[in-house]
Structures are given as structure tokens and as C-alpha cells.
Symmetry: C2
Subunit: 378 residues, 2 copies
């Protein structure tokens, strides 16, 4: 099955209104209620944060324990299996800080060509460091949360609902182990608990007007959706690859010690029709480099920090991770198989991002999907 | 006295190691232990957040109650007065999201001239909206926390401790009343609980290299210091002024309904010597406008959100709020009265920002100072 012992992503669920949400792992079409199955109250706290703060040894031991119980101790687990269709899934992580990077060479080049047509598409710093910025942690929402079309300034004296509402298909990394102020992070796998799919909704008209010189703000802060399931790094061992080739060689603190590129294949659907298949494996900056960069100045990490890759865009025509690239800023509308066309998102559209990775023994690891429907502006 | 009944700022203190920090108000040289004096456990929760989330009616009633008890019921309060020199002060607020604006016309113009000498100093959007961006909430620290000099990239292939470590003297606004995702904020005074002084430490060399096109990141994220005392808006009623004149007239959602400019006089000291006296009253964008802008796209507010004004710089020679402006990017060193000179900060330097405002009946409202000492890079 596609959600077997080799996968086991973590999420937060409730069985009825009013119940304090609890941590579970997905197993087939069920959720294992971990507080019950493992007799550990850390899983009854409403988010993954308390468990994640225990660190990498606890993460590994817990995964082994769950795998053992599910494979050899099934009768004991049985009472704690809840059918997936009987639960509500919640935001799995209490997000501390949210950082968004810009790690795809193709995406950064495409955006540069569109936003700054008279300049070199890449800024001089781009190949020297993973460019990133802080986003709004308080508007990170769980998959399924409706997204209200934002209003804002779209130019001097021009105000109204965004006419260029877009998506960004990204991979997010969830921090479990914190650092102290003034310290740098150690090994990637000692700090990062797992990954999630991210849709960094973007209002391109608001963004284009506001973003100089301090970066994107209201064009992004209205909503960022993530999967309800956090896939632990341990489930991605077969997906690890070298990551994109880098020229020039990065500075010492950014040198890759181990392969943390990830062979993930993403799919973006609009109203159920696939519009793009971005490959994650060739991203220029890998997540270990993002972590090293984010903390090289001594900035502390907290349990629950979320950082995202930036839009995943490949070099092929059907591999771009945003509508602004797929339609070249609206000049080449996308034909949907139902006969309609899209430049940017319309009210009522539903966007879903899915992803798979190679698992052990030829299996496939499926990531939790992230989905959202556009509601009209208020 | 200068911390009398008309002031009463809120802070979080502990009396001995291991005690869960408690909320108090400063009164003279004492802290009133509110959990004890008011018999309310909301003040025994380690931060101001639980109290702030009760909203503006509770803020007003609590202030009146404290004032009444201190003036007419002194014997009852007496056992709950703790001498200030017997307490440790903590970060008063659990910071949710941190946003930094850029609201001083003089500061934005000065930075534009230095960072982009070949262009108009102000970007085309600056007079149309309060430009802002998200900072790192997890590295907002209490006054007195040492600041480790950050290391980072200062150009292509150049790495090392920042050689241009700077300050930014700002006023911060603390949100008490949240909003739902998709909604806009209502009246400023219904959402904002109070103000704090902010030192937004800045590594100018790191910032200059990294900030295009997504804004400041590691040049800022290593530390942001705030006062231990949050001054409630009610203490600033006599300080309210119209705010700077605006041309062009802002769009409807940014129109000022009431005067929320504030006649605050800031002072910046380096190692005890005053180097600047920035006036807050003429800032171009007022805090009610920042709040309206920040939520016009439906971004939710959370209790504990902190947003800051950006560097407060006046038009006079001794009124600039950062060293990069006071020394014109290091080209005009600042002479300290002790005979030494500064371009940017040196290890061991202590920077302190203070502020006062007019209070009722000719009294003076003193804000809690924010101070920090530079430690060598690690």
C-alpha cells in the first residue's frame, strides 16, 4: 500500500468537535492515535512541537517503535487505529518563524526576466548564498483552509482585489531541535524533523508594487498552506541525491557534507487537471545549505520553525512551479483540459500540490497533499 | 515621581531563579505583583499575552483598578510591592509575528542615498504605502541580553564578522486583540495594547550584499532588543499629535481617523554618551496606518504581534536614529566625549535608547529603556 510502514507521516487530528487535537501517523487509510498506542502524553498536546523538541534520537526510536508495533503487535495497536474519514486534520505544527528561500535557478531567472526585464535576471548575490526572507508565521494554514482573495495596492493610487493571484509550489522543512542565540546549527538531520508541501500563495500585482526595497510583504502574507502530514526525513532515505551542481564553489560554511538533494516529483493541479510537474532534485541550493545559511549569523532556531525552498521550477516547459511562469506573466494563457483558460487564479479554483519520492525496495513514498480553494475578496 | 500613577507600564519579572515569571506594573522603584494584588491568575502566566488577549475593555478596567488600589487602598497593595532591584526582568511578550516598517521620510531618504547613490532616494511606492517586511520573531530579546557580533557574507566570496554593526532606534507596537484570517483590523486602539522601544540591530555589510531582491534577512535576524516595559496606550493620551503631513493624500484604507502621531523624544547613548536625539512626532506614517496596511490583505493578527516604526530619524543633524546615518556610512566618524571615535559599533560597546513623552498635568511619561552590549563574534 502507498501509506505503509516505510512512510508513516505525522499529523494532528481530532475525532469530534471540541476534542483537543492529538498527534497520529498515517498508516493506509487509518490514523494511529499515538497517545493511546504508545502511552505517551507528548502526543496529546495539540501539535507536533513537544514531540519534535525531544530531538533526533527520540524521532528514530519512536519511528522504530511504531513500525514494530504495526508489524508484530497489531492486536495491541488495533484499538488505536482511527479511520481517516472519521477525523479532522489540523495544522500539524505550531509554526514559530517562517522563512522562504529562493533556491531554484530556473524560478529566480524566470522571475528576474519578468520583474526586471532590463537587467541580468539573477542578482549578483544569487549564486553565492541562498537568498531568503521571513514570511508571516501566523498565516500558515493547513491544507483545505479556504484562501480569501486579498485586496491591496496594485500601483500608485490603485486599490482592489488582486487580479494576479498565483501559487508557488514549494517544499518546506520543519525544525525540531532548537539552537541557542549566537550559535550556529549543527548537522541538518539533527535539527530538521521532516518535510511538508507548501503552497506560498502570491498576489503578483501587490508584490510587484510593494517589494522594493524591503522585499515581499502583503503579496504573500495573506496565506501560506501546508500539508497536514509531515514526512519524517527517515522516510526519504532512498530519495537522497547530490543536489544541483554549483558554480562557483560555495564558501566553507555552505559546503555540502552529505547529499541532501531530494528526488521528489511534484504535481500541480488546478481543478483536478495537472498543469505542471516540477522536479525537486535539481534545485540549486539544498536544504542543509539553507539551514547553515539561516543560522550562520547566530540567529536562534526554535522548535516549529518552518523554512521553504522557494518555488520549485525545472527547466522543461511543463515543469514550472507558479502560474506567473507557466503563463509568462499572463501573456500565454494556460489551456485547461475542460476547455477553459487561466492566466492567474479565478474565484472558486482549487489548487492541489502532490508529490512522491522513491522509497525502499521500489516502493513509493507519497507526501501529504496541500490543497486550497479561492474565495472571493471580502 | 517619574514612574507614577499616570505611567504604570507592564512587564514580566521573577524574584528568584526558577520562579515562573509574573506580570507586574512598574510604580516608582517597585514592581506591583499583579497576580497577588489583583487575585488574577492571568498575571502568573509568564508573559503579557494572556492578559492582552482579553481586549481593550479589560485593559482599561485593569488600569483603573491598579490606579485606585495604589492611591486609596495602599495597605492592601503593600505586600505585593517588590523592590525593582530584587527582580529579574524578562521579555514581556511572547512575540508572535514581528514586522518592521520604514516610516521615517528622513531615514528612508538617507538610506536610499547611501545604498543606491545613482537613483532617486525614495522608491516610487514609498509615499503611497508604509513599506514594511517581516523580521525574525524568535530573536526578539529583552533589554540587557548581550548581542553577539554576527558573521556572514559581506560580498562575493567574503566572509567574516560584520565590520558595520549598527543600531536602529525605533518605536514598537504590541498587538493584544487578534483578527480572523481574511478580516481587516478595526480601530488602532482596540487592537494595540501598548508601545515599547526597539533596537533593531543591523549588520550593514551583510545587509547590503544580501538584500536584493527579497529584502533584509541575516543582516537583521541575529537580534532585535526591546524594553522590558510595555507602556499602555492609555499612558500616552497627552502625547498624541497629528503625525507628519502626507502628500499625496493616502488611499481610503490608510486615511487617519484620529491623531495617532506621538510626541516622543528618543535619546541614543553609546557607552553612556548621548549621540542622537530622534524626535518621533513627525514620522511620515503613523501606527494606525501601519496597522491598517498590514491587515488590508486579510492577514490575521495574533496576540503578541509586534510591529515597529522603522528607524526614527529627524531632519536635524543630531536627530538621526542609526550610526550609518550619523556617520554617513562611516565616512564621518562620530566623536564621543571620552575622546574616542566611532563609525560602527565596537566589541564591548553598550547602546541604550530611552524616551519620554508628555504626561497629564505637566508630568513626564518615561518609557522603559532598551540596552544591549556587543560581544565579540564566536
Amino acid at each position: 500500500m502507498s501509506w505503509g510502514l516505510e512512510n508513516l507521516p505525522y499529523g494532528v487530528f481530532s475525532r469530534h468537535e471540541g476534542e483537543t487535537p492529538r498527534v497520529g501517523v498515517r498508516y493506509g487509510d487509518h490514523v494511529v492515535d499515538l497517545a493511546g498506542a504508545l502511552h505517551d502524553e507528548v502526543f496529546a498536546t495539540g501539535s507536533l512541537n513537544a514531540f519534535m523538541s525531544r530531538g533526533p534520537v527520540a524521532w528514530r526510536d519512536t519511528r522504530t517503535l511504531i513500525q514494530n508495533k504495526l508489524s508484530t503487535d497489531r492486536a495491541v495497536v488495533e484499538p488505536h487505529l482511527v479511520p481517516l474519514d472519521q477525523v479532522t486534520l489540523h495544522l500539524p505544527v505550531e509554526v514559530a518563524d517562517y522563512v522562504d528561500f529562493y533556491c531554484s535557478l530556473e524560478h529566480a531567472s524566470n522571475l528576474g526576466r519578468m520583474f526586471r526585464p532590463d537587467e541580468e535576471p539573477l542578482k549578483p548575490n544569487w549564486r553565492h548564498l541562498p537568498v531568503g526572507y521571513h514570511g508571516r508565521a501566523g498565516t500558515v494554514v493547513a491544507s483545505g483552509t479556504p484562501v480569501v482573495r486579498p485586496s491591496g495596492q496594485r500601483g500608485a493610487g490603485v486599490f482592489g482585489p488582486s487580479a494576479k493571484l498565483d501559487i508557488e509550489a514549494e517544499l518546506g522543512f520543519v525544525v525540531g531541535t532548537p539552537t541557542a542565540l549566537g550559535d550556529r546549527a549543527g548537522r541538518f538531520e539533527d535539527h530538521v524533523f521532516g518535510v511538508t508541501l507548501v503552497n506560498d500563495w502570491s498576489a503578483r500585482d501587490i508584490q510587484a508594487w510593494e517589494y522594493v526595497p524591503l522585499g515581499p510583504f502583503l503579496g504573500k502574507s495573506f496565506a501560506t498552506s501546508i500539508s497536514p502530514w509531515i514526512t519524517p526525513l527517515a522516510a526519504l532515505s532512498e530519495a537522497r541525491v547530490e543536489g544541483g551542481r554549483q558554480d562557483p564553489e560555495p564558501l566553507g560554511y555552505l559546503r555540502r557534507e552529505e547529499p541532501w538533494g531530494l528526488d521528489l516529483r511534484l504535481e500541480i493541479s488546478v481543478n483536478g487537471e495537472v498543469v505542471s510537474r516540477p522536479p525537486y532534485r535539481d534545485m540549486y541550493w539544498t536544504p542543509d545549505q539553507m539551514l547553515a545559511h539561516m543560522t550562520v549569523n547566530g540567529a536562534a532556531l526554535r522548535t516549529g520553525d518552518l523554512y521553504a525552498s522557494g518555488t520549485v521550477s525545472g527547466s522543461g516547459p511543463g515543469e514550472r512551479g507558479s502560474l506567473i511562469e507557466l503563463t509568462w506573466n499572463g501573456t500565454e494563457p494556460l489551456k485547461l483540459p475542460d476547455g477553459s483558460a487561466r492566466t492567474f487564479l479565478e474565484d472558486g479554483d482549487t489548487v492541489t500540490i502532490t508529490a512522491t519520492a522513491p522509497g525502499p525496495g521500489g516502493s513509493v513514498i507519497t507526501l501529504g497533499e496541500v490543497s486550497g480553494r479561492i474565495e472571493p475578496s471580502r
